[in-house]
């Protein structure tokens, strides 16, 4: 999987490259729109990450040019602009995702993963991780074969953790996914729900599945199962 990053802020480009490389991707980083277009013409990329403010033009223009060349790879816009107009404009120009800075690398890698997985996604209805099993159709949860009753919000939260098991999910990602934009900044609600979920899933078991990663967020820890 090869990813092109067009970002003029060198340090940010560097950290993005290192972060994505550590995930096992091949990454090229360029700093101008012209270089971005050249690279896109020359090599085959599975994904492009474009900053909107480039020294020689906007990321939107670059995205349009790339699309005009006939490239259909997913494009992720990474920008400091969070207004709706800009979002709409870029989605119309052919963007597949729009991420506002500051972004956690963990979140970015999940979004990259999601974009690369597009297409015939694996739609398993019953997911299993060690002793835990969830049924996405009936929204039922079992641990060691025993039913666990969850409220709709708790279920959504667990399912979200499940689908990204082994990865850290930040509180703001969880809020955005399970609640909505109006809860922006109200991340303490996540702690409360995680607490409840823990009581139902992990209480009385030696193996704790839900892990807190301080400063980063929460994850469903599946590493310890193998």
């Amino acid at each position: 999987m090869r990813i092109l990053i067009v970002e003029d802020e060198k340090k940010l480009s560097d950290i993005l490259q290192r972060s994505l490389k550590s995930e096992g991707y091949m990454v090229d980083g360029v700093h101008t729109a012209a270089d971005g277009l050249e690279y896109a013409k020359t090599y085959h990329y599975d994904l492009v990450i474009i900053d909107l403010q480039l020294p020689d033009g906007t990321g939107t223009t670059l995205l349009k040019q790339v699309r005009e060349l006939g490239h259909t790879m997913p494009a992720l816009i990474l920008t400091a602009r969070s207004d709706i107009d800009s979002k709409v404009e870029n989605f119309q120009a052919g963007a597949d995702d729009y991420v506002v800075k500051p972004v956690a690398m963990a979140e970015l890698s999940i979004r990259v993963q999601a974009l690369l997985r597009r297409g015939p996604a694996l739609q398993e209805n019953v997911l299993k991780a060690g002793p835990l099993e969830i049924n996405r159709l009936t929204r039922q949860v079992k641990r060691d074969g025993k039913r666990i009753e969850l409220s709709p919000k708790e279920y959504s939260l667990l399912e979200y953790l499940f689908l990204h098991s082994g990865r850290i999910l930040s509180r703001s990602m969880i809020v955005e996914k399970i609640w909505d934009q109006s809860f922006e900044g109200l991340t303490n609600i996540v702690d409360v729900y995680i607490g409840h979920l823990r009581r139902k899933i992990d209480e009385g078991h030696d193996l704790k599945l839900i892990r807190t990663v301080r400063g980063l967020g929460y994850m469903l820890d599946t590493d310890q199962l193998t």
Binding site: E9, K11, L12, I15, L16, R18, S19, S22, A80, R81, S82, D83, V100, K101, P102, V103, A104, M105, A106, K153, I168, S170, R171, S172, W179, D180, Q181, S182, F183, E184, G185, L186, T187, N188, I189, V192, Y193, G195, H196, V213, R214, G215, L216
Partner: protein, 481 residues
């Protein structure tokens, strides 16, 4: 106190001026009238003395004829006239008392002698003006004719004139003062208009300016000068507001870089626990910083959106129920009762997500500052053409000294309280309310609790019924299929 107003001072001074001028006019009129009557009477008397001499010159030795002639010609008694003809100290003829009794003819003293052909100065004897003229008769004797006239009539006229002026002047003053009040009011109307406009000026609508009416150049100039001042204030204010938005924008990229670096380190090999702890702390603070940056950008966007917010129908009651549903657990954790509001729909015009953010922020605060076992109540309703939501808690309350400032950016009632807030939550609530043309107010007492009231304009009935009609039409179409 009342003399502090320009209107009353102006009217007072011009009334004073009117009194002085009126008094001077009165005195001048009366005096000149007096002078004029005296002059006229003098010349009349002088002429009359001549006439008396002309008709009586030849009759001095025939007292009966002299008497008859003068009586016929001058009728002194009925005309308030006095005529006396004397030669030296011998009186040849003297008219009787006037019928009006204005003077007594017998008491009219004989004046000093007058040389031949001369006219004596006028003497005033009570009401009588007296003038003597001497002639020499054919026998060479000096004959003096005294001619007199009562000036009581002139006096009466003079009195009348003075009285009418005395009565008229105060009347004139009252009328002038009234006219002055009316005129000043009219003249100050543009100022009143400007005051009303200035009272309603807020930075929520920074492009509003004072009206400049083209009636009075100086007042128009004042309006223009104030408007230029507003321009400068506006630009300073928007500069400050743009500054925080720009600063927040510029912080986003470095924040991402720092966060990325720390995340890479944190997700790397097992670290010594103190390093791990430090990185976790830094990451937590980074999250907080990102939150502040986001809040600042939300604030500046709300300010720029004033009045341009997309306005769809939002039911505040349903929104409150939904929000409470989502936040219930926060309250449950602290054993705080948070009942769902029941009531008829309150449909306002607004942006659903933003209005929800108001509720989320207010509920979060209410739960945060209410001790365990307390109560948070949400109510919705309408008040005139406004819909409202109140969020009331039985919490620690806010001292009245903070009420004015709790909605300011970065203002925190208890800065030492380590609750992680940056003091932007209520500022965001206020900016969203303003962007919707609404308002937020606070009623609170320490140790009793706080009640925040948010008011948002209701969706106009016309728009609502139109939408209901559209819904009905859609329903029919679906049913028809």
């Amino acid at each position: 106190m009342i003399f502090r107003s320009v209107t009353s001072r102006l009217i007072f001074f011009y009334c004073l001026l009117l009194v002085v001028l009126g008094g001077a006019f009165l005195a001048f009129t009366v005096l000149s009238f007096q002078h004029y009557t005296r002059e006229t009477l003098t010349s009349i008397l002088s002429v009359r003395a001549g006439e008396v001499w002309n008709i009586s010159g030849g009759l001095l030795d025939q007292p009966i004829r002299l008497h008859d002639t003068i009586e016929r010609r001058f009728a002194p008694e009925s005309q308030d006239r006095f005529i006396r003809i004397r030669a030296g100290s011998a009186v040849l003829y003297q008219s009787g008392n006037p019928t009006s009794g204005e003077f007594s003819a017998k008491l009219v003293a004989i004046g000093p002698p007058v040389a031949e052909g001369q006219v004596s100065p006028v003497r005033v004897l009570g009401n009588l003006l007296l003038l003597s003229r001497s002639f020499r008769d054919p026998n060479g004797n000096l004959v003096t004719v005294d001619a007199g006239q009562s000036d009581l009539f002139a006096h009466a006229l003079q009195q009348r004139l003075a009285t009418s002026l005395f009565v008229g002047l105060p009347l004139l003053l009252v009328l002038a003062a009234l006219a002055g009040v009316v005129l000043m009011r009219r003249a100050l109307t543009p100022v009143e208009v400007m005051i009303n406009a200035a009272e309603t000026y807020t930075f929520n609508d920074p492009h509003k300016r004072l009206p400049t009416l083209h009636t009075e150049p100086r007042i128009e100039a004042l309006g223009l000068a104030l408007n230029r001042m507003l321009d400068r204030l506006d630009s300073a204010y928007s500069h400050a507001s743009r500054f925080s938005a720009d600063a927040a924008h510029e912080l986003r990229t470095p924040l991402t870089i720092m966060r990325g670096e720390l995340e890479l380190v944190a997700s790397g090999e097992r670290l010594p626990s103190d390093v791990d702890n430090a990185i976790s702390n830094a990451l937590e603070e980074m999250t907080r910083l990102s939150g502040i940056v986001d809040s600042l950008i939300t604030l500046s966007r709300m300010e720029s959106l004033w009045g341009k917010q997309a306005h769809g129908p939002v039911d505040l009651t349903a929104l409150a129920q939904e929000t409470i549903e989502q936040m219930n657990l926060l309250a449950e954790e602290k054993q705080i009762s948070l009942p769902r509001p029941s009531g008829p729909p309150v449909v306002v015009a607004g942006d659903r997500d933003r209005l929800k953010q108001i509720l989320v922020n207010l509920l979060d605060n209410a739960i945060k500052y209410t001790p365990a076992g307390g109560r948070v109540a949400v109510q919705t309703g309408t008040n005139g053409d406004m819909g409202f939501v109140t969020v009331e808690d039985s919490g620690i309350g806010i001292d009245p000294s903070h009420h004015d400032r709790v909605f300011d950016r970065f203002y925190r009632v208890m800065p030492d309280r380590g609750d992680g807030g940056a003091g932007l939550g209520l500022a965001i609530v206020k900016s969203i309310c303003n962007a919707h043309g609404g308002s937020v107010s606070l009623r609170s007492a320490p140790e009793v609790g706080s009640c925040f009231k948010v008011e948002i304009p209701l969706l106009p009935v016309a728009a609502e019924s139109k939408m209901a009609a559209a819904d009905a039409a859609a329903a029919t179409t679906v049913a028809g299929k």
